[in-house]
């Protein structure tokens, strides 16, 4: 059973400077996407990930460097994932016709879910593990 002491230690004071920094990076990335006229669906999907990442993970305990790396990796992975998805959809639509796009729009929902949740939870688990490792010497 989990001790409330551990939870309180994890909660601590949120560092609100980190999310501000994260928001600036996110804003810059999204601006780049828009400038290069990246598909709106990709921007929406990446923006959703960024919002959940910056607002919920950035204020947690952990180094800003790790958080930024994880955010950038997530963005890159999301971008490539979506790009591959659309390329593949184009190829399939070429053979199957326009009706495929409705199938794809529903499938892309699940595919988007998979990358967003995977990277978000992976980042959270990395941060949690790093925090736990830091706590270990003090506990012993």
């Amino acid at each position: 059973l989990h001790s409330d002491v551990i939870v309180e230690r994890l909660k601590k004071k949120p560092d609100f400077l980190h999310p501000i920094f994260g928001a600036i990076i996110t804003g810059y990335l999204l601006l780049l996407f828009l400038l290069y006229r990246v598909n709106t669906a990709i921007v929406v999907s990446v923006a959703t990930f960024d919002f959940l990442f910056v607002s919920l993970i950035f204020p947690l305990k952990g180094s800003i460097f790790h958080k930024v790396i994880l955010l950038l990796t997530g963005n890159l992975a999301g971008f490539i994932w979506n790009l591959l998805q659309f390329q593949l959809a184009d190829v399939i639509a070429y053979f199957l016709g326009g009706a495929f796009s409705i199938v794809f729009s529903i499938a892309s929902l699940i595919l988007n879910y998979i990358w967003i949740v995977s990277f978000w939870s992976l980042a959270l688990s990395i941060l949690t593990r790093k925090n736990l490792r830091k706590e270990e010497p003090t506990n012993s």
Binding site: L1, H2, D4, I6, V7, L10, K11, P14, N39, T40, A41, V44, S45, T48, L52, S55, L56, P59, L60, S101, I102, S105, I106, S108, L109, I110, N112, Y113, I114, V117, S118, W120, S121, L122, L124, S125, T128, R129, L132
Partner: protein, 430 residues
């Protein structure tokens, strides 16, 4: 245009649910606890309590919980344990009776085959007739509580406005299968974040029907559990609020449960919850919204809680609308669809909670490995949609037929959780 407006309304509703869960997550994670937890009092000030344990064919687990009841630190002079054997066909009665013979605070009530096997609410009402404690607790037979759980829960009744308390449920047999692991995550999000935030924000924490207690006088004045409702616990929560009482959630009062171990059991359990919740919505929505003594924020939360099992229906509806709009050749397909769908999906995973709520719950519990399993929650989305659609259709059919007797599908407990309680194994089975 009508289709587009309908889709827009669904998206707005999804956004409200998403925002609500986001606020809950943020509250639990970053806001300091505002509502203080009362400290358990000394023995002299304890309330007398009755613990009801309804049991139907629970021979594999009943010994475990009764053994645990004998080990609770709560004063045995103020404790009454009532096992309601709901006409079991196995050795449940014999096992319970053997405990009753050894310990005078344990009592067994046996229901016959004419009245028995009619659902948990009926069994609990039978138990309530025999209860003498000021506070009545309910524990399912497969549960395994903390030793001082009653002290932690009872302390909250010092506040006369508190009519009921609810403790935290965690899963005992988590490593058993994929479904037990997913249920664990659902429970983590549901209790550690959702219930906790609702308590901290002064909204409507739910009495979950087990690991929780009610004031006996309140319970009696409400007429006990409503056996015509499959989610009799949620119904009781709303009736308590209508009677002017509050429900408190006590995160530090933890109790293990044996989660469903297969997809079929999951389906049956969740179908019962979905149907019961929908019944509750039909029964309590209007009186709750009209009630003047309930605060606006409680009304808003109550509305969203009661409507939660309709959300998967809306998701299905939004999918159908999107396909229709595609063929009609309507506006802004890709972007609009993407936003709508993302919102929909994030509103329902993991026991009708979005994934980030589940993730933050796991983070607060320091469950690193549980986080790796989060993408698997996607499996629950179509399942939850199918369950809720079927439950809704069943309810509609039964309304048309005028048949309001919904069959209680009991969840089967195999006792596989026993192997995770190593220090207790020998005591239970000796």
């Amino acid at each position: 245009l009508i289709l587009e407006i309908t889709l827009l309304l669904i998206i707005v509703l999804m956004s409200i649910y998403l925002a609500r869960h986001y606020i809950f997550t943020f509250t639990v994670l970053f806001l300091p606890q505002r509502r203080t937890s009362p400290k358990p009092k000394t023995n002299d000030h304890y309330f007398s309590v009755s613990v009801l344990i309804p049991a139907l064919d629970e021979e594999r687990v009943i010994g475990r919980i009764l053994q645990r009841m004998t080990e609770l630190t709560y004063s045995k002079e103020k404790l009454q344990v009532i096992v309601i054997d709901d006409a079991s066909k196995d050795r449940t009665f014999e096992i319970a009776q053997s405990f009753a013979e050894k310990f005078n605070f344990i009592q067994v009530v046996r229901r016959d085959f004419i009245n028995g096997r009619a659902g948990k609410a009926e069994a609990l009402n039978e138990g309530l007739k025999h209860a003498t404690g000021e506070i009545v607790y309910c524990f399912d037979a497969d549960y395994y509580p903390q030793l001082d759980i009653l002290e932690k829960l009872t302390a909250y009744f010092a506040d006369p406005k508190v009519g009921a308390v609810q403790g935290r449920v965690t899963v005992l047999n988590e490593p058993y299968s994929l479904i037990t692991r997913l249920v664990t995550m659902e429970r983590t999000g549901g209790y550690r974040v959702n219930q906790q935030a609702r308590d901290e924000l002064g909204l409507i924490p739910q009495f979950g029907g087990t690991v929780g207690g009610f004031r006996r006088d309140l319970l009696e004045s409400l007429g006990g559990w409503d056996s015509s409702i499959l989610a009799e616990d949620t119904d009781l929560t709303f009736r308590a609020y209508l009677a002017g009482y509050k429900v408190r959630y006590v995160n530090e009062a933890e109790c293990y449960e044996e989660a469903v171990e297969g997809w079929r059991s999951y389906w049956h359990q969740r179908s019962r919850w979905a149907k019961g919740h929908m019944q509750c919505a039909f029964k309590n929505m209007l009186p709750f919204l009209k009630c003047k003594r309930i605060l606006l924020r409680e009304k808003v939360d109550g509305f969203l809680v009661l409507s939660i099992y309709f959300v998967p229906l809306l998701i299905l509806l939004s999918l159908i609308l999107n396909v229709t709009l595609f063929f009609v050749g309507s506006f802004g397909q890709s972007t609009f669809l993407n936003i709508a769908m993302l919102l929909s999906v994030y509103s329902v995973t993991g026991g009708l909670a979005p994934f980030f709520e589940v993730g933050i719950g796991a983070y607060l519990d320091q469950r690193v490995r549980a986080l790796w399993l989060m993408p698997m929650l996607v499996l629950l989305i179509p399942l939850n949609i199918a369950i809720c659609v079927k439950a809704f259709l069943d309810l509609c059919v039964s309304k048309i037929n005028g048949n309001n007797n919904h069959k209680w599908m009991k969840t089967c407990h195999n006792g596989n959780g026993n192997c995770y309680i190593t220090n207790q194994r020998d005591k239970i089975f000796e």
